[in-house]
Symmetry: C2
Subunit: 365 residues, 2 copies
């Protein structure tokens, strides 16, 4: 669970704790610390709709806050921005640490802004960031070109809570970014736990970045990733690595053919590129835009978005039902004994479950 | 949801409805219709522990009943049988309709009884059977040899309710069968919905039966099946079909190598056989018993069973939390509008979810 006292941003936002927040951690904190309380819901909404990225950033900080009052304001802002959202292309970009995601996103972002104009928001889902604090320092400094681009907005992963909570905040941030006129959204995610599934369920195209390795890279792929990918991009295809990358690409292509045709009707492509040297970027993105045109044409684009909206409603319900149960103090204290009784063969799984549920519903009355 | 009035077995068990139940539908009904009420928990437990299959069958019917009183007796019987359960090898057998499961299970069962002795129970998980009534008529007549074998007990799939409910009943039936001395349990399942996942989560070895087809059989495989398989068996490898089967086997072997090594440390094998002509059965089952020895040796056998027991406790909790919510009449009446509001972009998924949850928890008070 999230504890406000463990949340750096929360501290910075609501009280003058007397401790200087190093501005490198979050530039928004420093700048807006004493201005925050003056903004009304109207201010936020007007600011966002007029494309003011400072106010957009403040609103996102509100989304990320665990303070119930902030949450209430945030929900109202989101609700009012909702009719202005949706008009974007959302691209999920996944890859294990070391795949060169940040450098790639820097190049990808510059490419799409130069080629297609518009505005780009780069968001992230990294449920591990609370522990490592990695993404807070990382993204801004690693995306050197995008971070100074006038038409980009880079926001690190929300850093607190369960994957469900982190993903919810990212999804809400997408709404605000779209309302602020960002017509291209990148959602970066790391190969941790179920973060790819969460990312996949909020984007129009899910790109998986891979590296060519020792020849058995397919063995190392997490389960389910191949089925989720709308495209696979093999990075670091440069110098004496080109041949290995092309071999890996062939392997991935063969493997993709083992899976059923995706519902979109689009056979995922495998392409090589070099994020560092900027090679193959145009070909990769021409393919992605071709996909977008294709699914807009056959109706799958809208269908997938509607399914995602429903999915998140039900996910949200189911997660909160579970949280209500497992975070209940009495249940939490009874669970270990119940689990042990099941492992020892003293109770069936079903009797143990029923006793816990009976206790829970009795407490709710 | 289960409605007692839709449940044939329930009718037959509890009241003399005046309507003759055709005995072909369920031989237990006819025989025990007026005897049922006389049996106490002690009678059931003693009967089961002494290996009386008639009483075992009656106890399973009790498990399958939706009558709360039957359920209470059933739970007590299961609880008392639990210490006597667990000493068996549980094999899951999956395959789409037409793969020749019943004929194969007939041959498999005869083979293991002849080769290894002991007693065999054949159970099933078929959440579709309520609609089709297929498995009620089907299994007994299709397993010609096993159905008349003195050391076998064949029980069709529980025919009512959600997959979770059907699977729970099958899992409880395993406990009773083991307590009755059945040291070999087959759990058959069909390629419908999540039935394979449910089956996989209650067996020691999960066998997937496939057919050789038009050369692209891998395309037709359901997602996740390859990862679940502890072994793949290609049926109908006889006559002029042998070459095609061997080609398919090679394809499956190559595909299996694309997946990470299973946690068991056992690389799944692909074997061809003919259920109809009884070819390759010994080789297939020698491999399965080799697996059992292997995982007993490395501790994975016990580990998997413990994980399964925990899995079912948490699955059971989560399912009942969801059922409590979605089966609530008020919620059920609010859901369609909430979903529509989300699809129309009037509410975010999260606000819609929160409003429904608030309504639900207010009702529970």
């Amino acid at each position: 669970m999230e504890h406000p006292e463990n949340n750096e941003e929360y501290k910075g936002l609501t009280v003058n704790s007397g401790i200087e927040q190093p501005s490198i951690l979050n530039p928004y904190l420093q700048r807006n610390r004493f201005r925050r309380r003056q903004l009304t819901v109207d201010d936020y909404v007007d600011g966002i709709l007029s494309g003011n990225v400072t106010i957009l950033g403040q609103a996102v900080t509100l989304i990320e806050s665990t303070n119930p009052q902030h949450q209430a304001v945030a929900q109202e802002v989101i609700e009012r921005c909702l009719p202005h959202s949706g008009r974007s292309v959302r691209i999920g970009i996944s890859g294990v640490p070391g795949a060169g995601k940040s450098t790639s996103i820097d190049e990808f972002g510059l490419h799409v802004l130069n080629e297609h104009g518009g505005k780009l928001a780069v968001l992230a889902i990294d449920p591990s960031s609370e522990k490592t604090k990695g993404s807070i320092l990382g993204d801004k400094t690693r995306m050197e070109k995008l971070s100074v681009h006038p038409d980009s907005f880079i926001r690190p992963s929300p850093s607190a809570g369960s994957l469900g909570g982190v993903a919810r905040k990212t999804r809400e941030t997408i709404i605000l970014c779209e309302a602020a006129g960002f017509d291209k959204i990148f959602v970066e995610t790391v190969g941790v736990g179920q973060s790819e599934t969460a990312c996949h369920s909020m984007v129009d195209f899910f790109l998986v970045i891979q590296l060519a390795g020792t020849g058995d890279e397919l063995q190392g792929i997490k389960r389910g990733i191949m089925e989720m990918a709308d495209g696979i991009a093999i990075n670091k295809c440069d110098g004496d690595n080109v041949e290995r990358c092309q071999l890996a690409a062939t392997q991935f292509r063969n493997a993709l053919h083992l899976f059923p045709m995706p519902e979109s009707g689009w056979m995922p492509r495998v392409q090589c590129y070099s994020g560092f040297y900027g090679l193959g970027i145009k070909e990769l993105w021409d393919g992605i835009y071709e996909y977008i045109d294709f699914v807009r044409g056959n109706g799958y684009f809208e269908h997938r978005r509607a399914e995602q909206a429903k999915y998140w409603m039900y996910e949200s319900i189911n997660e909160q039902l579970r949280n209500g149960f497992y975070n209940n103090e009495t249940i939490a204290s009874l669970l270990p004994r119940a689990e042990q009784a099941v492992l020892d063969g003293q109770k069936t799984s079903f009797v143990a479950a029923k006793q816990l549920l009976d206790a829970y519903f009795a407490l709710l009355k």
